[in-house]
């Protein structure tokens, strides 16, 4: 017997879809993937989730999401989906150890932090190169840190890192920040934070065991300079987790799943997409949860229409 509904991903979108689908008696089966709880597991305080005027810790919030999914009967597997076949009904969803089939699928695989892709980055991963300030900032007490990026997450990481670091230098590709007003303000007013404009990190160098500096290219003067640093935190944005769906679902140029406007319906009937994986614009926990709810309702109606 195929499942009625498989949900791929366990971020705010996946869990909200699961809560709605489970309450609608669809007995959803969820694959958590390698980041159970999704991106909010990597942050500290979430201040803009309505209903919590004093904020809430991201990991704690996702724990509660999971409990609520389970309360209504969602079955959760701690596995990655490695392959899907959407060409025939029921759809096939595979992990490295087993194969499952389902009448409907909700894709909520979210997004992952992008890396720079420069020499030294991989080599010094976990040895001074990081994409998680809340995890690794602790190891840089009284050290010099570089943050790469000019958006909200770069500002947030920079501010957070000043709790530990002696100085935080933000390397920005343009001569302005993409970050929201409030986040810019906070960073600019922080005495430990300084900015290097029109600049790109071209290489990360080290002594073999840990990072010692970066090579910075100024795209206005075309000059490359050496900059000494103990740590490099990369915050240049996210890319949607859709490698799995290339050639199987319609994706836009940037790799996001294309949904019918105002819905979560993809180009394959019975497959729905919710959260950051189909959203290159809002990218918030609350919008992910909102579209997760929509996906569950879209799936429920579609399943009912087939009967």
């Amino acid at each position: 017997m195929p499942e009625k509904l498989i949900i791929i991903g366990s971020g705010p979108a996946g869990h909200t879809a699961a809560i709605y689908a489970a309450r609608a008696e669809l007995k959803p089966l969820m694959f958590e993937g390698s980041t159970p709880g999704g991106q909010l597991m990597l942050t500290t305080e979430v201040e803009n989730w309505p209903g919590f005027p004093n904020g809430m810790m991201g990991p704690e919030m996702m724990d509660l999401f999971k409990k609520q999914s389970e309360r209504f009967g969602t079955r959760i597997l701690s596995e990655n989906v490695t392959e899907v076949d959407f060409t025939a009904s029921p759809f096939v969803v595979k992990t490295s150890t087993a194969s499952y089939s389902s009448e409907a699928v909700i894709v909520s695989t979210g997004a992952t932090a992008m890396w720079l892709g420069v020499p030294g980055e991989k080599e010094y991963g976990g040895r001074g190169v990081s994409a998680c300030a809340t995890c690794d900032g602790f190891f840089f007490k009284n050290k010099k840190i570089v943050v790469v990026g000019g958006g909200d997450s770069a500002m947030e990481e920079s501010n957070f890192l000043t709790r530990f670091a002696e100085t935080v230098t933000v390397i920005v590709r343009k001569d302005e920040l993409k970050a929201s007003k409030i986040m810019q303000e906070r960073a600019r007013n922080n005495p430990k934070i300084s900015f290097v404009w029109n600049s790109e990190v071209k290489e990360i160098v080290g002594d073999g065991t840990r990072v010692s500096g970066v090579k910075i290219f100024n795209n206005k003067t075309n000059e490359t300079t050496d900059f000494a640093t103990d740590g490099v935190f990369v915050a240049i944005g996210h890319k949607p987790n859709t490698e799995l769906f290339a050639g199987k679902l319609e994706l836009d140029k940037a790799g996001y799943i294309v949904v019918r406007p105002g819905s979560t319906i993809t180009n394959v009937e019975g497959v729905f997409a919710a959260g950051d994986v189909a959203d290159h614009y809002y990218k918030q926990a609350i919008t992910a949860a909102g579209t997760g709810c929509m996906a569950a309702i879209d799936a429920e109606r579609w399943l009912a229409s087939k009967e």
Partner: protein, 103 residues
């Protein structure tokens, strides 16, 4: 799960004849929290491997000794030598595969 301290680390890890997986973690680290149940479950399944963890808040000296700059970081020890090191959260199967490579 073996709780490692500055006092028992050498005896429990370096002097062990078994394969030892050491998880460097802290209570404030989200991805570390993700790995706690994974470690517990694998410890129940791979009984010939010693599963141990170091709270880097309490034992920063051990973290420093192994140049830990990111958590969670996992070290695999065989005969007292580090034979593998990797960072970040992963699924149970992925962690199992990493361990089994060395057993």
């Amino acid at each position: 799960m073996l709780e490692l301290t500055s006092a028992n680390f050498d005896a429990s890890v370096l002097a062990s004849s078994d394969l030892v997986l050491v998880d460097f973690w802290a209570p404030w680290c989200g991805p570390c929290k993700l790995m706690a149940p994974v470690m517990e479950e694998l410890a129940g399944e791979l009984t010939e491997v010693v599963f141990a963890k170091v709270n880097v808040d309490d034992h920063s000296d051990i973290a420093q000794r192994y140049n830990i700059l990111s958590i969670p970081t996992f070290l695999i020890f065989k005969g007292g030598q580090v034979v593998d090191q990797f960072s970040g959260s992963m699924t149970k199967d992925a962690l199992r595969a990493k361990i089994e490579k060395h057993s």
